[in-house]
Amino acid sequence: MKRILFVLSLLLMAAMLLTACGPAATEPPAGTVAPATDAPATEAPAMPVVLKIASSANITTWDPVASFSTEAAYLANVYEQLLRINPPGSAEQYIPLLAESWDVSDDGLSYTFHLRSGVKFHDGEPMNAEAVKKSIDAAADHAGASFIWLPLKDVEVVDDLTVKINLTYAAPVDLIASSLYGAWIVSPKALDAAAADENFWSDGKSYGTGPYVVESYTPDAEIVFTRNEEYWGGWGDGQYEKVVVSIVPEAAVRQQMLEGGEVDLATALPVENLDTFKNDPGYSVHEEPSFFNYVGFFNTLRVPLDDVKVRQALSYAIPYDDIIAIGAKGLGTQSFGPVPAGVFPWDGSVFQYTYDLEKAKALLKEAGHEGGGFSIRLTYAAENATEEAFAPLIKDSFAQIGVDVTIEPMGFSQQWELAKTDPANAQDMFLLLYWPTYSDAGADNMWSMYYAGAEAPYLNVTKFNLSYWKNDQYNALMDEAGALTATDYEGSKAKYVEAMNILIEEAPSVFFFDTMAVFVVPNRVEGFQYNLNYPFVQFFYYDLRAAE
């Protein structure tokens, strides 16, 4: 037995040696539970007011400039933009964050922002015009979402607290400056450090002005935030001192943690299990419109989909209600064109196709395809369970008008690669989940997905107009509308609606449904309000309060 113990202890030692190898071993790992300088273990500090969240959102980078993914859920509590957009229906369109007010020149070509005074970054640097200029320049140069600053000419420092943003063409800088991506104002020291060291952002760091700072980060496991005591907004009763986020990829585990009281909030709960919470008076369930919608591009370069009548026929042969019931488990609403409900320039007056097989058959007959008789290759992103669920409904329905569908799941990047590089051999129908980068679906959804480039196959710079559709009148209206957004909201919207009507009539794609976001909030947490303009944020910790 002694030898066995010896063997086991040797194995243990070998394993410890294994852990000791590797270059990172000399420095303490980033994710330790507490720095060694903390109070000795025997002392029990008073328990702070803690908010616990089980979140599905992973961190792909802590770099607020590069960020273009799910980490926005956390960065939004650490960093601030000049402005934040309020949810639709609010009295004010914006909450002034780092800018207290702003003026627009008459031609819409320059925006002057007056900054909040006395704000400091987490590293103690002052937040001023120089810092704003440096952040916007960095974002325009190398952000994940640099393209939102395409209209930018330069950023001018007028005085310490006044900054002027000059444009090459009129654009709504107020919307751009409140974007979730590419618009954070970051400490200039951090930007310099990141330029010198490419691994600067590899650990959880805070160089913003927001209400919380990152206390510790254990990859794939946990992030702990603590109050920025000097936050310019101040602190009131019931606001959380600490926020502990457990990163939990499994939806069922998140649900169990919420039900068992291990956490106060959980994101992305399994929608099929929501009834448990709906029937429990201890929780409120919020179902809200979201930023996301599903479209299905037709390949308009190919016979017979080049015929508008055929595309209209197929648009009438989509079982919208069933698709929402099965694909979205009921949590969706049929789209009014390409813009998700609640986002500028959404309008409920535009035409919606209904599920009408007789009309579909009649249109096919008009187009010279009586009884169908052609086939369609449909691709969708294999990783998208919603598309996987509703794609067969399209096949069934099209079969009833004599159109045969071959369904082909692909990895999203493969699907996109095929569609943008080789339209001649690409799919006939392409299912896509889309969302605007910032709260202007005119400049994003309507432009990215339907604005035609100059030459066949008419791809524009975003490479998302994958129906290869070209309509000069639509393009012209889009140009006019885009130029108006900065100075004349209503005028711009009217142009967008006109363009939408052409788009929907021409039916280069199917507009399936806008998704809904679901949040379960226990009564012990107060102050929750979903803001659809920031779909990846879910919770602004500063707004939440522990109930008495």
Binding site: R3, T19, A24, T32, T60, D220, V224, V248, P249, Q256
Partner: protein, 340 residues
């Protein structure tokens, strides 16, 4: 001399195995039709940005050149940067390894402490209800999938009995009550060394369910192996002689018989450690255990090929190492192997 010779020979073959593994995983991960540069930069990137990243990652070069570059960096201990986290893969692995090993060792200790005595008891009373019971347990242990067993245990011990925590490595309140001082990053050991009993208890409770889930398969295997080896040894003449001398049965079973029967069990233990390393993948996902398994699953889902390569090479290295150690141990325990 003979031992040194043996080790050198094993090291040489190990090198072959590792190079083979690296070639296969490298080329497999590159032929999967996926645009790594597009994945790296994220959704909605402009074409020119994707091309910039492609150059930056060296993905524009021919495959053999890419492989040579990769191996060159590997020799300097650099496994490249993960596509999804943008951090060095080496750092990702070393940071998560203690969590996985802690789970692995806890599982293996349970497996040995439960499996060996079960096997001995079952052999000692062959044919008795005890034997039937042990054989049943081993079959269940070996055949029940870890993800199913793990979920059952969660439902039983968290949901209904409320005895043990659901998931994770520590309670999130622990940092405020009694934070762990990291020394080895084996939390149980660290809290023990710093006499932090509050943390020790919490970590211990968190370990029970995942470690037991992980131990189920090895318990079955070890019990069956021990039983078979013990049966063979117990039937031998020297055992009968010992019995004739009137030596107590306990002494005979555990001192004389088990020692000779343990060699095959040891091989099994060594192999199951390596097997259990992949078992941690399921267990870590179910119990949200922040180790290598969770990282690997995430890397696979994101087609994060530098991370997949890194973990595979690391796993293969560990496997080879454990096998070698087991071989050496056998020679140590059983002089017959040494003499051959």
């Amino acid at each position: 001399m003979r031992v040194l010779d043996f080790i050198l020979r094993r090291l040489f073959t190990a090198l072959f195995v590792l190079v083979g593994v690296s070639v296969i995983t490298f080329f497999l991960s590159r032929v999967i039709p996926n645009d790594a540069a597009a994945l790296y930069i994220g959704p909605k990137a402009r074409t020119e940005d994707i091309e910039r990243v492609r150059k930056q990652l060296g993905l524009d070069k021919p495959l053999p050149v890419q492989y040579a570059v990769y191996m060159g960096e590997l020799l300097r201990g650099d496994l490249g940067n993960s596509i999804s986290t943008k951090r060095p893969v080496t750092q990702e692995i070393t940071e998560r390894l203690p969590a996985t090993l802690e789970l692995l060792f806890a599982g293996m200790i349970i497996a040995v402490l439960v499996g060996v005595p079960l096997g001995v008891l079952s052999a000692r009373w062959q044919g008795s209800p005890m034997d039937v019971f042990v054989r049943m347990i081993s079959i269940v242990g070996v055949s029940m999938p870890a993800f199913y067993l793990g979920l059952l245990m969660q439902i039983a011990f968290f949901r209904h009995l409320d005895l043990l925590p659901l998931a994770g490595r520590v309670d999130s309140d622990l940092r405020f009550i009694s934070p762990i001082q990291p020394i080895t990053n084996f939390f149980l050991l660290d809290s023990f060394l710093t006499l932090n009993w509050v943390a020790f208890k919490d970590i211990f409770l968190h370990l029970i369910l995942p470690a037991s889930t992980l131990a189920a398969y090895p318990i079955g295997l070890i019990a069956r192996m021990t039983r078979a080896a013990m049966l063979e040894v117990l039937g031998q003449d020297y055992i009968r002689t010992a019995q004739a001398y009137g030596i107590r049965q306990v002494v005979i079973t555990y001192m004389y018989a088990l020692k000779n029967a343990i060699s095959p069990t040891l091989t099994v233990i060594g192999l199951t450690i390596a097997y259990a390393l992949t078992g941690t993948f399921f267990v870590e996902v179910i119990f949200n255990w922040p180790g290598l398994g969770l990282f690997t699953v995430r890397s696979l889902l994101n087609v994060d090929y530098p991370a997949i390569m890194g973990v595979t090479l690391f796993g293969a290295g560990g496997y080879v190492l454990i096998n070698m150690i087991v071989d050496l141990m056998q020679a140590w325990i059983d002089p017959r192997i040494r003499l051959k």
